[in-house]
Amino acid sequence: MMGQFGDLRELYQEVIFDHNRRPRNFHALEEATHRADGHNPLCGDQLTVYARVTDNVVDEVSFIGHGCAISTASASLMTEAVKGMPVGEVENLFRDMHAMLTDSHPDRDLGKLEVLSGVREFPARVKCATLAWHTLHNAITQARETAKTE
């Protein structure tokens, strides 16, 4: 299978298909304390990220919306990764993810989120992967505007 799809396997790893088919935490969150909308006007990807922050910890996080496999999987993986994380750590992770997706790999291993690192080789798709992260960043920093990756 690897040979048949070549470089595409770097982008579309099995974990990504799994999260695209069955996105985790894919629902609205009534008890959210923070929420933000994200939109990529170029491709029409649209999502809303919800977070409940208690004692400076993101103890619940979810999302709804629609997008391509990369943006959906990235959002789903993100909700798994940040649930239970202090807000400051989420912000650090946002920075490291952003670096991994756009520029250079951060010093630390990002665990399961590493499956998204292949995006860097597909410049047209970087914004798909960063959308959810920008939106979460906006939500928890209380920025009011819709996050845009265009």
Partner: protein, 406 residues
């Protein structure tokens, strides 16, 4: 038709594969004749126009004028003064909106736009509507992607001052019955602008036969350079319209008290124009005329037919837009695979398509879709290109676990 050899870029590879360029609705590739014409202009003929003391300036002016005459004959306009050079379709529509619209429309007037329009024939009118108090109304689109002509008839009334419609839909390929649309609009005294961006490369256009008041197109979708296009406007209308940009070349006399303006079309062409672009456009139209638009239309019709039949064999593929008359475009979605993912996977096969909303977000909303995948054809495409597209779509389905390897 086998003219691919005229297009040098088609020899290049993308991701190690032969380039299969199916994004002609976005822009077409350029034949060597056009590339050489533009380069040759800079090599041999460059000077500013209408500064005619020296020979080279007169020569450059002649080339620019020759291009305008070529556009006139291409559209079968009555007078060469009816052709205004612009940066493209978008600027042509903005010219009409800013000059004619802003000075003509009043509160309560109705602007009627088709639901198939590209953003470039929506947003300029929204801006004018905001400034004038005119109201925008929309001609609905049927499930097959055609304009609802009965609804159109019902929308026309004594308040309708303007109708804006594309000749061919850029998202679906629908060919609109423009002559009928114009005739009905004229019955209520409305002015009609036709966005011809997706039409001119695919069929013969005769503005007198269509009867329209304005017709806009871009050179770069017609095998010509980017940054050059034209607006056709009926002379009486253009003569009555004020300039929209001021500067050099559009004036008759200037003093600090008062300036007088040049005649149509110069009064709409402020500043040094895209002369090299006009020269390239001249070469592009000459090329298309040499190949023959009837032959191009027949070739593309065959490609669309073959693509429709071949794509229909892909499980979960649904066509968006099944108009009876279509030109050069097949728009579709595949169950379970977002158009953007299709675009990336096809790109790795060397196949360039457009994935997204095609700058027609209201139309996508009408179909309840964030976007579609669009294959759009040109005279250099081959049946084999369609086969590569189909093979790429099967590969996408295999990658997404929807199909087993053959």
């Amino acid at each position: 038709m086998n003219r691919a050899a005229d297009f040098p870029i088609l020899n290049r590879e993308v991701h190690g594969r032969r380039l299969v360029y199916l994004d002609n609705g976005a822009t077409t590739q350029k034949p060597l004749a056009v590339i050489e014409a533009e380069a040759g202009y800079y090599r041999e003929s460059n000077a500013n126009i209408h500064r005619g003391v020296h020979w080279l300036s007169q020569h450059s002016t002649d080339l620019y004028d020759r291009s305008r005459e070529r556009v006139r004959s291409f559209l079968n306009a009555r007078h060469v003064e009816e052709i205004v050079f612009t940066r493209g379709t978008t600027e042509a529509i903005n010219l009409v909106a800013a000059s004619w619209g802003r000075n003509t429309l009043k509160k309560g007037d109705e602007i009627l736009l088709s639901g198939l329009e590209h953003h470039s024939n929506i947003v300029p009118w929204q801006m004018v509507a905001e400034q004038t108090g005119a109201v925008i109304r929309v001609i609905p689109v049927t499930d097959s992607g055609e304009l609802d002509m009965q609804a159109y008839a019902g929308l026309l009334n004594e308040h309708t001052r303007f109708v804006g419609v594309c000749h061919v839909s850029n998202a679906l390929g629908t060919v609109n019955p423009v002559a009928d649309i114009v005739r009905m609009a004229h019955e209520v005294g409305a002015v009609v602008l036709v966005d011809g961006a997706q039409a001119v490369a695919h069929q013969v256009v005769d503005v007198q036969a269509l009867g329209c008041d304005f017709y806009a197109f871009s050179g770069h979708k017609l095998y010509g350079p980017t940054g050059i296009g034209a607006l056709y406007g009926r002379k009486a209308l253009l003569d009555a319209m004020p300039p929209w940009q001021g500067g050099g070349d559009m004036i008759h006399t200037v003093s600090f008290e008062r300036s007088t303006y040049a005649e149509t079309p110069q009064k709409f062409e402020a500043g040094t124009p895209n002369i090299a672009g006009a020269v390239g456009l001249d070469a592009a139209i000459a090329y298309v005329q040499e190949v023959g638009l009837e032959g191009i239309a027949a070739h593309e019709h065959a490609l669309v037919k073959y693509a429709s039949e071949s794509l229909a064999g892909i499980p979960g593929l649904r066509f968006i837009g099944q108009a009876r008359e279509r030109a050069g475009i097949v728009s579709f979605v595949v169950d379970g695979i977002h158009p953007h993912d299709l675009g990336t996977i096809l790109d790795m096969e060397g196949v360039a398509i457009r994935a997204g909303h095609h700058c027609a977000m209201p139309l996508m909303t009408r179909f309840g879709l964030p976007g579609t995948a669009r294959a759009s054809f040109a005279l250099y495409n081959k049946l084999e290109d369609v086969d590569t597209l189909v093979a790429g779509l099967h590969k996408a389905r295999r990658l997404f676990g929807m199909e087993q390897s053959a």
